[in-house]
């Protein structure tokens, strides 16, 4: 684990008034691996996510992102858009947040805003139609087209994102996050609401993204997806980490089963033993 860590969260605490949503939570995500964060509803997974992606400012603890070149960024000190722009952390949302009135292609173009903005000379070069910008736009359309091909939506490129089927919207949101060319991709329940076939396709997509060299941090309830693709799993309950390890280790951990069944640990062990 100590080898090539891209993200290390250390003693993260998040309080909302008197409520402690996350307490002294530590986790590490390895580079070019899929790390899953699981736990029952209300365990604080999304809070951890929002702290990492800058939507919340943590009450305590540190979040360190190490880039390929060894550059270390303290995420807890950056705020909202800078985490995506400078630290190259992209995220998706539990409830899909596409731009419904813009086409699928436009959604992917907006994701490349910062690169295009530089190429357009902060609008001034673009306004006069400089070739620099035209080339950059062509390149951006190329990247967007590649992603549309990968998520199998090329023929829907010019349709409004709000008109796409639910599963397609999920995949488009992942493609949009990938168009920011992130180092770390954070997915908040990407398989929610998908059927078995779509979940399988999603697993394949996530594995291919990982194989291309992007690290993934994943919150997911769909255990078939989590167990199939995760390299490392962190389990949370009531704002604290209760277990971590490989999918197999986590699956057999009585604490995890207890958390999911909502029973005592002893009972869970009894259930497991009677089952096996």
């Amino acid at each position: 684990m100590s080898g090539d860590t891209i993200l290390s969260v250390d003693r993260l605490t998040m309080r909302f008034g008197g409520i402690v949503a996350v307490q002294d939570m530590s986790l590490a995500a390895e580079r070019k691996k899929i790390t899953a964060l699981i736990g029952p509803n209300g365990a604080g997974k999304t809070t951890v996510f929002n702290c990492i992606t800058g939507f919340y400012k943590p009450s305590g603890g540190t979040i360190r992102l190490t880039h390929d070149g060894g550059r270390v960024i303290a995420l807890e000190r950056l705020n909202d858009f800078r985490i995506a722009k400078q630290a190259k952390v992209a995220r998706t949302f539990q409830n899909i947040r596409l731009f419904p009135g813009m086409t699928a292609l436009e959604n992917l173009m907006v994701a490349q805003h910062n690169a295009l903005m530089r190429a357009s000379g902060f609008t001034f070069l673009g306004l006069v139609g400089a070739p620099v910008y035209r080339d950059a736009e062509k390149h951006a359309i190329g990247l967007a087209t590649d992603w549309l091909k990968r998520i199998n939506l090329l023929d829907r490129a010019d349709d409004a994102a709000g008109n796409l089927a639910y599963g397609d919207q999920r995949r488009l949101e992942i493609a949009r996050a990938m168009c920011t060319e992130p180092a770390l991709l954070c997915l908040d329940e990407p398989a929610a609401g998908l059927n078995a076939r779509e979940s399988a396709a999603l697993s394949e997509l996530l594995l291919s993204i990982r194989n291309d060299g992007t690290s993934i941090l994943l919150i997911e309830h769909d255990m078939s997806v989590v167990m199939e693709i995760s390299d490392h799993i962190v389990v949370m309950d009531h704002g604290v980490k209760i277990a971590e390890g490989s999918p197999r280790e986590v699956r057999d951990d009585p604490k995890v089963i207890a958390a999911y069944l909502g029973t005592d640990e002893d009972e869970a062990v009894a259930v497991m033993e009677s089952g096996s």
């Binding site: 086409t103 010019d158 409004a160």
Partner: protein, 439 residues
């Protein structure tokens, strides 16, 4: 059985239901009008209050509501539910899309020819200049409201900044219109950024209230800062624009004398017409260009979902500020034009009513649609003039027209959104999907 059960979802039809709803409506009308129409009060000859009843008028009004209610219900059952598209048969829709494709170029050609066709009709030329001014203001505000989704109720402030910038620079320093025009735009944009900073965190209603207040503050400052602005007396004898240095007057070095043609005051009107047309087209061209640039896409993305924008690394602060600044700059240009056209400006020209009118043009036109805004400006300003003969009933007719349009086309005359980039074919996006923004 099944046929019956499918019908239950529909509102009850048939004569009893019809009569019932008409009766309820008539009852509401009776309660409403019993005091407003039924009793008339007036000061008597000795100053005492006299009143008399008008039951005849009251009865006829209630009867009209009763009858009208039945007619509307019948129409509704006949045509089906009112909606944006459903009311119009497909044949008409395809015809309209055909017209829509050629409407913009046809309108542009007609506009270019207006001074030729109506050369002798000063009234129409003046009206055309007024309409074009509002087209430009509408296009400017469209950047803020239509594209970025920020509800700005104080747009007139930038119009005022532009007008006073030109008026004061020209009267105090004698600078020419062509030098002051960009300055007026820059100053207005600067004030746009100044307004933008404090209101960045506000959304929706709160943003609207603060921008409304900003518009009033600017007006009050103009009224009270008498040494600079002349207060309520305004600024007078503002220089007229020159044709790139050549004055448009009756003098020996005027344009008419140089061209060797007879001088006519219409020359200046025609020049002003083409000037505002050029400014409006510049606004349009820049806006269309900006929409296809990353900044324009970011504006629209901001309108659609601000949180998602932040997650994609878009700096929402600067994105909002640029929208405010761009819209304000066009407002400033229009203001400078207004000052040079009128030759006299005073705070009275920059009341909240102007902001409301420009906003109404943008909303009526269909937020974000350039052609829609132009059509809305034409129908609003032109409509005002058209109904002038109706005198006091003008506002009534106007209000009714607005209500009808909002029922039939709730997202404005042109509610579709055209995509800014496409792979194979640009498809218009239905207004049902496009967000209005939350400020």
């Amino acid at each position: 059985m099944t046929a019956h059960s499918t019908n239950t979802a529909k509102p009850a039809t048939g004569i009893p239901a019809l009569l019932k709803s008409a009766f309820v409506n008539a009852l509401i009308a009776l309660v409403l009008f019993s005091l407003m129409i039924g009793i008339r009060t007036e000061a008597g000859s000795d100053g005492q209050l006299t009143y008399w009843t008008r039951f005849g008028e009251l009865a006829s009004l209630v009867a009209a509501v009763f009858g009208g209610s039945i007619v509307i219900d019948l129409l509704r059952q006949w045509i089906g539910p009112t909606g944006t598209e459903k009311l119009i048969p497909p044949a008409v829709q395809t015809g309209m899309s055909f017209v829509g494709r050629y409407l913009a170029p046809a309108l542009l050609i007609f506009t270019l020819l207006v001074p030729v066709i109506f050369y002798d009709q000063r009234y129409i030329l003046d009206l055309a200049i007024l309409v074009l001014t509002y087209v430009m203001l509408g296009w400017g505000l469209n950047v803020v409201v239509g594209l970025a989704g920020l509800l700005d109720l104080g747009y007139v402030a930038f119009y005022a900044v532009g007008a006073y910038s030109y008026a004061l620079l020209a009267t105090n320093f004698g600078w020419s219109f062509w030098v002051c025009l960009p300055l007026a735009g820059i100053l207005a944009a600067f004030w746009g950024v100044l307004l933008g900073f404090p209101v960045l965190r506000l959304r929706g209603d709160y943003l609207a209230i603060v921008t409304l207040a900003f518009g009033e503050i600017i007006r009050l400052v103009i009224i009270n800062w008498q040494e600079l602005t002349g207060g309520p007396n305004g600024v007078s004898s503002i220089p007229r624009p020159s044709f790139f240095g050549i004055p448009l007057d009756n003098s020996d070095n005027g344009l008419a004398a140089k061209l060797g043609i007879e001088y006519s005051p219409t020359h200046r009107i025609v020049f002003l017409f083409y000037l505002i047309l050029a400014l409006a087209l510049l606004t349009n061209w820049v806006t269309i260009r900006l929409r296809r640039l990353p900044i324009g896409r970011a504006w629209e993305a901001l309108r659609e979902d601000e949180v998602a924008c932040r997650a994609l690394g878009i700096n929402t602060t600067t994105t909002k500020l640029t929208a405010f600044a761009t819209g304000a700059m066009f407002g400033g240009f229009a203001g400078a034009f207004f000052a040079t056209r009128q030759g006299f400006i005073s705070p009275e020209s920059f009341t909240f009513q102007e902001s409301a009118l420009v906003l109404a043009i943008v909303v009526l036109g269909g937020m974000g649609s350039q052609l829609g805004v132009a059509l809305a400006a034409l129908s609003m300003i032109g409509g005002f003039e058209l109904f002038r003969s109706l005198e006091t009933y003008r506002m009534l007719v106007f209000g009714m027209a607005m209500v009808l349009i909002m029922i039939w086309r709730p997202r404005g005359l042109i509610g579709h959104r055209a995509p800014t980039v496409y792979l194979t074919k640009a498809q218009a996006i239905s207004s049902d999907l496009v967000k209005e923004g939350h400020g």
